[in-house]
Amino acid sequence: VYEVFKNVAGKYDLMNDAMSFGIHRLWKDHFIHRMAPVEGTKLLDVAGGTGDIAFRFLQYIQSQNDDPIMVEESFSIPTNIEAGAYSIPSDYAEEEKIDLSGYKEDTSHVTVCDINQEMLNVGKSRAEEAGIFTGIDWVQGNAECLPFEDNSFDAYTIAYGIRNCTHVDKVLTEAFRVLKPGGRFMCLEFSQVNNLGLRRLYDSYSFEVIPVMGQVLARDWKSYQYLVESIRQFPNQKKFAAMIRQAGFGMVTYENLTFGVSAIHSGYKLLKVVK
């Protein structure tokens, strides 16, 4: 997996645009809209080396501060954009003696964690080019064995990364561990196209066109064939939702994007219920 991404890192953005005709940008925009983060959210973005999700997160909060929106639709994934929805209020934290001394409690922050150094370097240089110097940290680490304390993040995201992990269950349990109680897990990933007619079309496209694109644009057939195959062997929407529940998350929901080509899964680390 590491080798694949070493090759892929440089042309990652280009290939994403080509393969999905730019739609991956819309999927990611939608993903952040579903999250609807508020100021003060501490986000851990896993496997997001090039920063796509991290930058959108920061931009969303920035635009919220400039021009707050009122959300009135009802989404399938529950959202709550009241202030403090994803941040544990400081008086609660003091009660529980959670240590928040490191970060200013009221500022948003995203820590990007990726197993691949090249991807992180791309992300870091993109941040510098965009003039983003604060509110973001870059860490190289393994999603199955995260270098963070328990109960330390308000939100955890993993976009198009989990299908590449050897032990998805470990990734999920680690995600659960590092989230604060009440914290939200969100995953954006390729999923199953249920409509049979569309699926045939999608399969032909994936197996016949994408590796060719990989060869032409990045001189790399094999890595893109790997990517296509990894999509096929990943559990479908329902199965993955069950795995998320298995890890301890509650209120697990999913939403299909573009007929199921991609899907957003969401779950919460619910506070313990005292019987």
Partner: protein, 82 residues
Amino acid sequence: ARFSTSLFYNTPFDETILEVLVCPVSKKPLRYDKEKNELVCEESGIAYPIVDGIPNLVPQDARIINKDTVDRNESPPKTQNK
């Protein structure tokens, strides 16, 4: 004009990140060794490298600290703000 040919020539390591980072193996806090540019977990006996200002906390990439060569005059655990 700002430019960078290859990777970050010598990006300083941002120590504020130490507030959230722990050793992935022991989940205990890390000590920043400025000289060697590493993050050390005493308990696990391993040191993680910092590359281009980005700490690498993948356990497989860590260096096992040789017990014989433990320095006596190491930097103190709490780093001071400049």
